[in-house]
Amino acid sequence: MDLRILGWTYKNIRGMRELEVTLGSPLPRWSLIQMPNGTGKTTTLTLMRMALAEEPPTPEQVRSFRPDETTKGGEFNLRLRVDGENVWLYLKFDYHTGSLSRFTSRTAQGGMEAGLRLKRPLQKMLTPTFTKLFVFDGELAKSIRDISKDEAAKAISTLYRLDSIERLERVAGEILRRDQTANVSTDKGLSNLQGRLRNALDQLETLKSRKKELERQRARLEKEMAALQVRRDERISSSANLKQRLEEVNAKRNDIAKLTFEATEKLAQLGRNPAAVSARLQDRLHDLSSRLQKLKLPRTTSVEFFRELALSAECICGRSIGPHEKETIERRANEFLGEDQVGVINAMKDALRHSEADTSAVRDLVDTLKSQLRARQEVDNEYDLIVMERHEQGDEELDQIQRDLTDRADKLRQAERQLRVLTASAKHEQDALECDEDNNIILCDRHVRERQAALSDATNTMRLQKQTEYVQEVLEQVVRVSSDQLRLRVQRATNEKLKTILPGEQLRVKEIGNSLLLHTDTLTSKESVSEGQSLAVAYAFLASLFEDAPYNLPFVVDSPAVSLDSKVRREVAELIPNLFGQAIFFVISSERDGFAESFYDRPDAKFITVQTDRNGKTTAQEGITAFRSFHSKDDESARVTS
């Protein structure tokens, strides 16, 4: 499915009394809209998101678009092309009541229909959260790394249509329930069974929500602890004599972290070859290879050879093959391997013969890790000493930070324990944690199945229930495995792009887990990633997320390069054009250097400058000349400040 933005119109929206922005025909691949700060860039993005995703705004939000107290209503119209069909989305604001009315007009339908009326799968996909992924501002760039596993999984599920499989799962459940209901008599016993099943299902939902809540809580606490640790270091640094020691300790920590990371990565990589892990494994592989060699296995003659021979009139030795010989050859042929079997054994034999690896490399890396772990322990002790000395000097704020840290650590431990209780799957662990169906998801799930079985039994739908469970289980696995693999694929594609955008940094996404976990060997704390780096990660991640999806969506971004230094700007500017089918950039004049200028020579780029004159009238001027010569005092001062 292909979605393109053709233009938009404002009527009585903040400073814009009447303004139309048209991206033109043929539609340019890249549109750069230059708008000075404060003239409505963020408002435009908000309106676009509001038009695309059906979420009712609050009366306060509606009134925030009001240009003055006397204006009664306003309108925003977003023009789209969806799979070749033109679609107009209207937002009509009533500033008096604080309400919003939506209308949709489509070429194919003619006339206006109330509400948002896009093609069903597209409309379903365009939730407010999802829309933020392709109509986004600087805020998202800053927070993209906080995208949770759930959100990433949800975006992937929507984009790659895994939600259709999830829907099938629900449909299977609904069919079962319908059948069960049809078989239910008014018998009180059956009602009880249904009630018990409902309770068990409710409990399961509660536990699953609890798990999500605890995971969010854990992520929040970890973040708070990281921030408190930074503040603790700042307080310690306020003591002149401790400042230098702290800096030394932190420098050592950085070195240790770098060496540990490198050694761990290399070890993980080398260890994937079993022969590198242990000399004994290597010996075993060589012994097996020699043994097969000695036994002349696999035998070179295959079953296929004898089967063909049996069909011939005479043997290779010249003797004729009669019915008796034919039968004997065919019978004995089965004692030989098929060609495919010979092939697979040979492949293994070949791998055994070449299973050479230098186990000393692994040993050296382990030694490095051991010494770094010791060094880390020493540095931690040194750090504790500094904290203690600073504490003895007396510092109210530091004491408070310490108390807060202890408090967060306690809460984190509690959250982790509760998560373990919720998710423990091994029997001995469930016993140790005193799990039951009221506090453990796995046991509760089992309880639900038992309740379902009891109900099915009573309603003669046992067979259907088993079939439904099987189908649901298979579908669930399809979704889980696909989602994991797609997440991994997005992660790998993101890292490939990061190598190009930030060649010297070696910054990469280690995991799309509770957030976009970053890894770098040049920074100890992944929290200290710069805004520019965050933006580069955001672009690389979003481009990777969308690149293979069955939906072609436009990419709209506010101030794409304002926080980047000029070198990274050029790299981002070189990368972005190839990432998206349609990109609309809202820029300020200071972003022309390095970023916008790289589009000047591209024939498929359009330049529009929006400005407000002395009388408050806002106009949109097309063309590169106006774009290049436009000068805004605010933006220039922003550039000087930045």
Binding site: K149, E222, T260, F261, T264, L267, A268, G271, R272, N273, P274, A275, V277, S278, R280, L281, R284, L285, L288, S289, R291, L292, L295, K296, L297, P298, R299, L337, D340, Q341, V344, I345, A347, M348, K349, D350, A351, S355, V362, R363, V366, L369, K370, Q372, L373, E416, R420, T423, S425, A426, H428, E429, Q477, V481, D484, L488, K510, E511, G513, N514
Partner: protein, 166 residues
């Protein structure tokens, strides 16, 4: 084919798996499986099927694909030993290989071979769980303990393992 960890393994490796607390973690669950597997195959330890958890991945993850044939070799080696297949018995060795290997499968293993691989991985897990005791808190600490285990063992070859449950 499908790879399955021991039921208790995700809890044991919880800090090192996705969403865990360690700064450096496994890239995938397959890493945990692999480290358990090598120990299980080396010690000829396998656990019964009912101790296995759900499938966590269907095929070898990318990083391990080049080593699929070597891992199949280690399985054949362990199985010839465990089933007391005569070292010089050409037909018996060939038969066992045919039972364990399959050309069309991405892991190079037959259904039986795959099942046994999972059981060896589960066996390796129980060994690690016993010997390393506490759940590893960080990947670097796990690597040190894990490789020390091999170094220690290599100075004294392991005694023949007791009969393992079928």
């Amino acid at each position: 084919m499908s790879f399955k960890l021991h039921k208790s393994a995700p809890a044991y490796f919880r800090h090192l798996l996705s969403g865990g607390g360690a700064a450096h973690r496994f890239d995938t669950q397959f890493d945990a499986y692999y480290y358990c597997l090598l120990v299980g195959l080396d010690r000829r330890q396998l656990r019964p099927l009912d101790e296995l958890g759900d499938e966590f991945v269907r095929d070898y993850v990318l990083e391990y694909q080049p080593h699929a044939a070597t891992i199949a070799g280690l399985l054949v080696d362990a199985e010839l030993d465990r089933t007391n297949t005569g070292r010089e018995d050409v037909k018996a060795v060939e038969k066992r290989m045919v039972e364990l290997l399959e050309a069309g499968s991405a892991s190079r293993l037959s259904k039986e071979g795959q099942e046994l691989l999972n059981r060896y991985a589960a066996g390796g897990f129980t060994v690690l769980n016993d010997l390393l005791a506490n759940p590893p808190q960080s990947l670097e600490e796990f690597f040190v303990s894990y490789h020390q285990l091999w170094t220690r063992e290599e100075s004294v070859p392991p005694a023949p393992s007791p009969a393992t449950p079928e």
